[in-house]
């Protein structure tokens, strides 16, 4: 089991001139610390127009800053929207390769298609076509990285013979992933031989069938890249404290704030009937699970039922138990959301990360333990 962190870069209102600056630099500090503590990956989303919820519209820039400040942690696009109306696939390949070079070969290339009308409408992107656009780009980008001269005649974009540069440092290319919020996409990931990047905050039970289906189908895959990336990332919230009550207090604030911000943008399936978004996805799941939740006040006083199985919220012992649930269903990596709307003060977020690295990580990640021992020796 490996561990990572996941950034949405949510910026709460009221905004000041420095609000976004503060959130970005808090996140960079968290990423630096995660690198030092032995976390394996740092991921950043690509979202547009999702005010307050995510101000991470240029993740390649943010991730480059992370790469420049860190040494070993892997740098993940979680995900890049590889649809031509958002990002021309050639630009996707170029930017990702440049980031792979600058990070010394640490890039994980997650792909996706967006699940909100807010974003698709903003880029005048037809929701019916996003799945096939994603598929076409996904098949082309590895070729751009590996072929000296690339050309493409597709349904959604075409390129005459050109040398797409730079090439990534990792050979043949960085690992490929797709954001998965539905069982259907997990199967599609497996069919294409790419990693299953969980981006919906579900319980281990909800993930279990998805993981099984992914493992089964990927054995027969036809990889779109040069190699098969058989890995499953789960995602959940993280807040660790020595005191269980304190952990649940802050953890419930985190979950509530994230869910509330997410509820206010417009999922495709909630407004635009299309077979391309049959499964409601992350937003619907969040809304459904919050339907019977209590008020923020109640959530703060107990946890109001807002903390679900599998969330890494509690004392180190509690969190170890929760992560074992993920391990049991075959998840390879867990990625954590650390904050939402800056509802947890930065010093508490950093402290939670340290507690996790000190008490939880060694139970799962021998590599992280070795890194920590080596740092301790160096300090002596």
């Amino acid at each position: 089991m490996k561990f990572g962190i996941f950034f949405e870069l949510s910026v709460p209102k009221p905004w000041s001139e420095r609000s976004e600056h503060q959130v970005y630099f808090n996140a960079l500090e968290q990423a630096e610390l995660a690198d030092e503590l032995g976390f394996d990956q740092v991921w950043a989303v690509e979202h547009h127009f999702l005010e307050e919820y995510s101000h991470c519209s240029a993740p390649e820039v943010f991730l480059t800053a992370v790469a420049m400040r860190t040494k070993r942690i892997r740098i993940g696009h979680g995900v890049m929207l590889v649809l031509p109306p958002f990002n021309h696939p050639v630009r996707c390949a170029e930017r990702a390769a440049a980031l792979d070079i600058l990070s010394n070969g640490r890039l994980e290339f997650g792909t996706g298609r967006s699940a909100t009308w807010t974003e698709l409408g903003g880029f005048n992107c037809d929701p019916d076509l996003t799945k096939e656009m994603w598929d076409e780009s996904l098949r082309a980008i590895p070729k751009m990285w590996t072929q000296e001269i690339f050309s493409w005649q597709g349904k959604h974009f075409s390129v005459p013979p050109r040398c797409v540069i730079p090439k990534p440092l990792q050979k043949p290319h960085p690992p490929l992933w797709v954001a998965v919020t539905s069982p259907e996409t997990a199967i599609q990931a497996a069919e294409r031989g790419i990693g299953c990047l969980g981006v919906s905050v579900g319980t281990p039970k909800e993930y279990e069938e998805r993981v099984k289906a992914y493992r089964r189908v990927i054995r027969e895959c036809e990889p779109v890249g040069e190699f098969v990336n058989e890995q499953v990332n789960g995602v959940t919230f993280l807040y660790v404290d020595e005191n269980e009550e304190e952990a649940r207090l802050w953890g419930s604030k985190l979950v509530y704030t994230f869910s509330l911000l997410a509820a206010h943008f417009t999922g495709v399936s909630s407004i635009y009937p299309t077979p391309a978004y049959k499964v409601p996805g992350l937003l619907f799941a969040l809304r459904r699970e919050q339907e019977q939740r209590s008020s923020p006040t109640a959530a703060a006083s107990s946890d109001g039922g807002i903390i679900r199985e599998g969330m890494a919220i509690g004392t180190p012992e509690t969190v170890i138990k929760q992560i074992k649930l993920w391990e049991e269903i075959g998840v390879d990596r867990m990625v954590f959301l650390l904050n939402a709307g800056e509802v947890i003060p930065q010093e508490k977020v950093l402290r939670s990360l340290r507690l996790f690295a000190e008490h939880v990580m060694p139970k799962f990640d021998a590599e992280a333990a070795r890194a920590r021992d080596s740092r301790a020796r160096a300090a002596r």
């Binding site: 127009f49 807010t118 509820a263 206010h264 417009t266 909630s270 407004i271 009937p273 339907e291």
Partner: protein, 244 residues
């Protein structure tokens, strides 16, 4: 001759006495309904201005014009056109009713008294021609809204959804200028069994704005989508009552 009172109907304070209603109690089965839902993006300031404090505006702000023709109901055939604002009740997607027009006096009473639709009496006409469906909403001789689906194509009914309505549950003050002594929101979740559906380009116009039926105050900024469907539906009792 006795001295009769002189209070004109125009001067009456608002009351809603529900005794001997001229309609049966819910649920109302409404088989064979034909429904047009036209969704469009509107202005942020408008959404914030017209939503109650307990509801959040979505990003981007959007509105629906929902026009239903109900050929069979417990009170006979009627039509209902509703303009709603897309909103969020905490985590949940809802449609807050702003304007409504029906063409049946009995439906008017029931829709107001039982379900809280802010109904006026008027005309609601729906015309289906080829792949186009156009609805016209008229109040006091003025066409306050035209909503249309253009170039419709069949769509799987599994992906069609209508959000629950949130309607005002209001006991008006009988004193001029005083706030209502009670106001809350009633959530109405009609049941739908869709038979077939068309999806097409959305178009909304407000040809003759009316102060009494101000549909134009939720302006059309850009189209989202329009859906035309036939469904067996049912208007139930309010599912929840929530704070205003």
């Amino acid at each position: 001759m006795p001295d009769y009172g002189q209070l004109a109907a125009e001067q009456l304070p608002h009351t809603v006495p529900v005794v001997a209603p001229p309609y049966p109690p819910p649920p109302w089965p409404l088989p064979g309904a034909r429904l047009l839902k036209v969704t469009y993006e509107t202005e942020k300031d408008v959404a914030i201005r017209w939503l109650p404090p307990s509801l959040g505006r979505p990003i981007p702000p959007y509105a629906h014009v929902i026009v239903g023709h109900y050929p069979e109901s417990p009170i006979g055939p009627f039509s209902l056109a509703v303009q709603t604002l897309g909103c969020r009740s905490r985590f949940l997607v809802r449609a807050y009713s702003l304007q409504a027009v029906t063409d049946s006096p009995t439906a008017l009473i029931a829709l107001r008294e039982v379900w809280g639709f802010p109904c006026l009496l008027g005309k609601v006409a729906v015309e289906e021609k080829g792949g186009d469906v156009e609805a016209r909403v008229e109040v006091a001789g003025r066409t306050v809204c035209v909503a249309a689906l253009r170039q419709g194509a069949p769509i799987d009914v599994e992906v069609v959804r209508f959000d629950p309505y949130l309607n005002l549950r209001l006991v008006p003050s009988i004193q001029d200028g005083q706030p209502p002594p009670h106001v809350s929101l009633a959530q109405i979740d009609p049941y739908y069994e869709f038979k077939h559906a068309l999806r097409g380009r959305a178009e909304v116009r407000f040809p003759r704005p009316s102060e009494g039926a101000p549909w134009h105050l939720v302006p059309f900024l850009s189209p989202v989508i329009a859906v035309w469907t036939e469904a067996d539906t049912e208007l139930p009792f309010a599912r929840f009552v929530m704070p205003y």
